[in-house]
């Protein structure tokens, strides 16, 4: 739905510009709508069909059809050997997954949310991420750890954390954060085909959201390159980087900013590790201003790394301090009014962009 609005806007206001920086081929006009859920389901289905070594393991992925229905229909199609319901024991099934990957299988391990991945984090980091290095290339680990990440709605402190920064700080891992259905399909396929451990961070609130998908995206060979960001909206005045659900917020902020004469460029990071530093820096060198947006905690977050990268590579190009919009620096509260204050809102992004463009009122309480 949002994608359709964006496309209309592009058609009317920017007739010469095409949003195709990192994707190799140009798209035919979008005809079909697909939800992120359908995109993930179809990607899993196609990859399992193409390669018998691919199998899915996790809680409620089989008979329950998936806690969020991402694996709907797969048990029926591929059988219990390849779609494995596990007990509630993340440590062991993550470890088993890595073990099968050592042996040459291609497991897709689902965490019902990434909060529960903390029970298995030793296997993700020590057994998966570091093995190829420690064995000088003998033990590659073609595993995908996937599941919803970040805040949902009213699920409280233990069920709302974003793990992008933690996993992305670890060498040996690839960390992907799809936004649209096209992202979901192309990146999950790429992740499953990739020989290295991939942490695939989805978002529960995006599962039901529909996006337009072209015929090319629907093709079973469709794949997106890992490590490349996508310019969702080309602009001149300020760069806004975002990933996952925040891309939607950034695009809405860009629409609002446009009315105030600020032309924002929105980058959908897609890949947190490797981070597409060249795309980010190229954009900042063009706009001279940067807002980083993320849902997770601010300290040592994704925005901090992006800011460091830009200061290191493009310092002379910055006309304003880098602005960081992130989740509040507190455990996630339950009450709706507090939760709203703890998660970035569109108006936060707008406000920061105006500050970077020196369009807002002076800061009141700087002292």
């Amino acid at each position: 739905m949002l994608g359709v609005v964006r496309q209309k806007m592009l058609g009317q206001s920017f007739p010469k510009i095409r949003p195709a920086v990192s994707v190799l081929r140009s798209y035919s006009s979008a005809a079909k709508q697909m939800t992120v859920r359908e995109a993930l389901n179809s990607a899993l289905d196609e990859e399992m069909s193409a390669d018998p070594k691919v199998f899915l393991m996790g809680e409620e992925v089989g008979e329950y059809q998936g806690a969020y229905k991402i694996s709907k229909g797969l048990l029926e199609k591929y059988g219990p050997e390849r779609v494995r319901d596990t007990p509630i024991t993340e440590a062991v099934f993550a470890g088993i997954g890595v073990g099968t990957a050592y042996y040459g299988l291609k497991p897709v391990v689902e965490f019902m949310t990434f909060n529960f991945s903390m029970q298995a984090i030793d296997h993700i980091i020590n057994s998966a991420a570091k093995s190829n290095y420690m064995s000088a290339g003998q033990m590659s680990v073609p595993i995908v750890f996937r599941g919803p990440n970040g805040a949902a709605a009213g699920v409280g402190a233990q069920h709302s954390q974003c793990y992008a920064a933690w996993y992305a700080s670890c060498p040996g891992l690839k960390v992907l954060t799809p936004y649209s259905s096209e992202d979901a399909r192309g990146m999950l396929k790429a992740a499953i085909r990739d020989p290295d451990p991939v942490v695939f961070l989805e978002n529960e609130l995006l599962y039901g959201e529909p996006f337009p998908v072209s015929d090319e995206v629907l093709d079973s060979s469709f794949c997106l390159p890992i490590g490349k960001a996508k310019i969702e909206r080309v602009g001149r005045d300020v760069t806004i980087t975002a990933f996952s659900k925040m891309v939607g917020h950034a695009l809405k902020a860009a629409e609002i900013l446009e009315k105030d004469g600020i032309d924002a460029e929105v980058i959908n990071l897609r890949s947190i590790r490797p981070l597409d530093r060249s795309a980010i820096n190229a954009s900042v060198r063009k706009t001279n201003r940067l807002i980083t947006v993320e849902e997770g905690f601010p300290q040592h977050g994704v925005g901090a790394e992006i800011c460091a990268s830009v200061v290191e590579e493009s310092f002379a190009y910055l006309d304003a301090p880098v602005e960081r919009i992130a989740g509040a620096d507190i455990p996630m509260p339950y009450a709706a009014n507090l939760e709203r204050m703890a998660v970035p809102q569109v108006e936060d992004i707008v406000r920061a962009a105006k500050r970077a463009c020196y369009r807002s009122v002076p800061l009141a309480a700087a002292a």
């Binding site: 440590a91 009213g154 069920h159 992130a326 204050m341 998660v343």
Partner: protein
């Protein structure tokens, strides 16, 4: 007493016994009579590596009527929470306990507030049993200031430290090592108290449970691990998750007891036994055979992985509230009308608490930054826009 020996726990009608008892005229004022009554539990206990407690239980009218009232209150509370969730006044996760009330009530009757309880996310009734109020429950569920966690925790995070109730935990299995820690501290402080760490059949397969059993046994901790076996871990039946669903035997070298968790008197007896055991001999497992009528949470219909016949069957044959009602009626401790009046009272209490909670305000914005630390050190914390919203941590 000849009368009590006639009693069994199954669905035998009270009529025959009622006519006998009215002849003997055992009517007493409600809820003050402590004349001992002897009752047998529904089934005998089964044990692993320990002796079996007697299935003959001493109770009295006051206790039975209190059990009835407490369980009816919990039942009504959970059903009301269901409606509030559907009306979108409760958000996020909501895991309901209706069907399992006997475990919370029976356990509380066997212990004191000096003993500790810790459980997972299906915690509303355990909180009430530990002395929490209905207002605190509903206000918390609706994210209001009067909630037990001032609206900041939500359904899965109820606590009542002054009654030694330690929550309220969202990560499956995590509460068990925490409970062993409570037991460790009780022993360390020589408090002569025990900890009940509750978990489900889904959590029973967690590795950290086995680590907890090993270390509790090694260090002789007064820890009682209580498996509330409602036979389903979310949508997965126990036989699909566990090679051996005899959870009371999982301790191997740690003794265990299997208990009918729908029989509040059996639960009380088992917990009394377990407390005595734990204080002398270290850890013990109690497996409570129980059942939840609702699905895993309000997002789960609860009917895709079990039949409606099974659910109604349990309701008819084993409902804990009905069991006590039949016991009370067959012993002529109250009339049907008196029990129905109790249910009406309880319903009104719940409705009043809900009305009060609805009027209660949401937390103040400043609460965003309170309680991050116990001691803030003057550190700054930030909102989503760090230049717009910032605060010094108190």
């Amino acid at each position: 007493m000849a009368l009590s020996q006639l009693l069994s726990s199954s669905s035998r009608s009270g009529n025959r016994l009622k006519s006998l008892s009215s002849a003997i005229s055992l009517r007493h004022p409600i809820s003050t009579d402590t004349t001992p009554i002897t009752v047998e539990t529904s089934v005998p206990f089964t044990s692993h590596q320990c002796e079996v407690p007697s299935r003959t239980v001493q109770t009295n009218a006051k206790e039975l009527l209190t059990f009835f009232r407490d369980m009816a209150l919990m039942r009504r509370m959970e059903i009301a929470a269901d409606s509030l969730y559907k009306a979108k006044l409760i958000r996020g996760f909501c895991h309901l306990y209706d069907g399992q009330e006997a475990v919370a009530v029976g356990m509380e009757a066997a212990i004191t507030k000096k003993d500790s309880i810790i459980t997972a996310y299906r915690d509303h009734c355990t909180f009430i049993a530990r002395g929490g109020t209905l207002l605190e429950v509903f206000a918390e569920l609706m994210g209001r200031q009067a909630g037990c966690s001032r609206g900041k925790g939500g359904s899965m995070h109820f606590y009542k430290k002054d009654s030694n109730f330690y929550g309220g935990h969202g990560i499956v299995g995590a509460q068990v090592p925490l409970g062993c820690g409570l037991a460790f501290a009780q022993k360390y402080c020589k408090d002569e108290a025990v900890t009940f760490a509750l978990y489900g059949d889904g959590a029973a397969n967690q590795g950290q449970l086995f680590e907890a059993l090993n270390i509790s046994a090694l260090w002789d901790l007064p820890a009682i691990l209580v498996c509330e076996n409602n036979h389903y871990g979310m949508g997965t039946a126990e036989w699909r998750a566990a090679k051996s669903p005899a959870y009371y035997k999982r301790g191997d070298y740690v003794p265990g007891l299997k208990v009918d968790g729908m029989d509040v008197l059996a639960v009380k007896q088992a917990c009394t036994f377990a407390k005595e055991h734990a204080l002398k001999n270290g850890p013990i497992i109690l497996e409570m055979d129980t059942y939840r009528y609702h699905g895993h949470s309000m997002s789960d219909p609860g009917s895709t992985y079990r039949t409606r016949d099974e659910i109604t069957g349990v309701r008819q044959e084993r409902d804990p509230v009905e069991r006590i009602r039949k016991l009370i009626l067959s012993h002529d401790l109250a009339t049907e009308k008196e029990l129905k009046d109790t249910e009406k009272e309880v319903r009104k209490e719940v409705d009043d608490a809900i009305a009060q909670a609805k009027e209660n305000p949401v937390p103040d914005s400043s609460e965003l930054f309170t309680n991050v630390y116990a001691k803030g050190l003057g550190v700054e914390s930030f909102g989503a826009d760090r230049k717009e919203v910032r605060a010094t941590l108190p």
